[in-house]
Point group: C2
Chain length 319, copies 2
């Protein structure tokens, strides 16, 4: 059973009288009367990160992954809480100092403040991060309109290559290995975009589980489909070179997740303001497809217009 089927079956009824929890079918909780936005995520060694050899990098990744949930909804994160479970080695003075310094960097970069948490001894390493922001409005899931353009920020796929480098499944050269690993641990979050996004996006999500998986999630309660054009899915110059030199399949690299870019849809008339915003903030926003009615089928097409198989794309937590 997929994670969200499980949530729906057993837990949706526990929040049914509470509009704010969005039927547990969104990445955040939003209490409009209090302007409160909350996200809770758990990260486990071996599942969400490989190991804890670089605590300072792991901690950056989990913080960014957590606040990304707020940013993609048009909300500035303000507070965060970390609950850490680990053994004595995890909490060695040397590790704690690295974690503390790393958090200091993140606090400065994203204007967030540590507000509490918990530390417990366990033979299994895991972190739960609670992120809180305040906003009068958020961008909801399941609010795409037919004919909306589909956009994504930044580049996709670099993080996945970084993961493969870390797992020693790929080896390029020292410089490029470092480039991709950095993208894995320190995804570029578009904090400045958060407050602007609300002006043009109809619906949005961050790409954590993979482009296709997250696009499916984004509209999972709507009777809508999508058409994506593979060539328009943005990748870095480094990934482009790698795909060519190693004859790799682009679709397999751009739909694996961990990108933490923002995927959103907007009315066609918004394209000019979107382009202007991208320019003024100095960020990349690419139009990658279109939302269609349920009469059509969701598809990704290559340069020649051929459909691409989407089997086994992206990441689901199965139970």
């Amino acid at each position: 059973m997929h994670e969200f089927q499980l949530i729906k079956k057993y837990f949706s009824n526990l929040s049914k009288n509470n509009k704010s929890s969005l039927n547990l079918n969104d990445d955040v909780f939003f209490d409009k009367s209090k302007n409160l936005v909350v996200s809770v995520d758990t990260y486990i060694e071996g599942v969400h990160f490989i190991n804890f050899k670089k605590p300072e990098l792991v901690i950056k990744k989990i913080i960014r992954s957590s606040i990304s949930d707020l940013i993609c909804k048009g909300v500035d994160p303000k507070y965060y809480f970390i609950s850490a479970s680990g053994n004595k080695k995890t909490f060695s003075s040397s590790n704690l100092e690295k974690i503390s310094n790393s958090l200091k960097d993140e606090q400065r970069k994203f204007n967030i403040i540590l507000c509490g948490g918990d530390t417990v001894l366990s033979n299994k390493l895991s972190f739960t991060v609670t992120s809180i922001g305040f906003s009068k409005n958020i961008i909801f899931r399941n609010n795409a309109k037919i004919n909306d353009d589909i956009y994504v920020t930044g580049n996709l796929g670099d993080s996945y290559v970084g993961l493969k480098v870390l797992k020693k499944q790929i080896n390029i050269n020292q410089k490029l290995n470092k480039f991709f690993v950095n993208k894995y641990f320190k995804p570029d979050l578009n904090l400045k975009l958060a407050k602007k996004l609300i002006n043009f996006a109809n619906t949005s999500i961050d790409v954590s589980d993979g482009l296709i998986t997250d696009l499916d999630k984004l509209i999972n309660k709507q009777k809508l489909t999508y058409k994506l054009s593979l060539i328009n899915i943005p990748i870095s110059a480094n990934l482009k070179k790698l795909l060519i030199s190693k004859k790799l399949d682009k679709i397999k690299y751009v739909s694996q997740g961990d990108d933490y870019q923002i995927l959103f849809t907007a009315n066609k008339f918004k394209s000019s303001i979107i382009n202007k915003t991208a320019k003024s903030l100095g960020i990349k926003i690419s139009k990658i497809g279109i939302i269609c009615s349920n009469n059509e089928k969701s598809e990704v097409t290559d340069q020649k217009g051929n459909k691409i198989s989407l089997k086994n794309m992206g990441y689901y937590h199965k139970f």
Copy 2:
């Protein structure tokens, strides 16, 4: 290193410009400008609960333990988030149904709503609960005054006996075993007291790690001491009988934690309103001691006025 020494050394500086986080030296986070109160706690199998044979009871215990942090500060909990890590067996249909029904009970009893969370696969079972409430004020730690009376709600020690029954370290009879185990899994929280407490308590904490440990925590930044009278520490009739029949040491049973009763101090002049409140709410509030100046030494005395040794009382997470 104790948990709060660790927090102080490595993480206090990350919240130093933020009064709301109370220097990470309280059980809750309080943002006065937003009336927001947040508590985050992690519960691990083998540490905070023995096993998951009774999911419906474990889930009650962790929810109550989490919202207890808010209630003891004078705040009604409103929202909660659960992040659960476990294996496929943990998330079996049968377990999920039990958890869901158990949460439904707790929601009704304490007027709280599930608002989100996370579910991840892991070979180690753990839960992180984030509880949120709204209040203009809270009762802070480290705000006791010299000559304050020290009070505690309900009874102490029943939960510890329940734990010993579960661990098969003690066996009384079926009926009493059940009584104590119930106190362990379903501590009595004084929700109705929360809003009244703020009228008379100078400082407060919930008894989770043990009476002595938590009293030390309550005033750890103050140059104060305390005198407790063992005979006044409230225990149930069932525990009283057990202590007599098995010739057990009262102090060892009332200072082990997991009670989730409220420990607070108040000015002597408040004793009449405290007694009235207890009566009108139908709850037990016992005066157990007094706050003293730093010229004296903290001590617990027995009926004859003899000092009792307090070595190895209560529970600390050591790293």
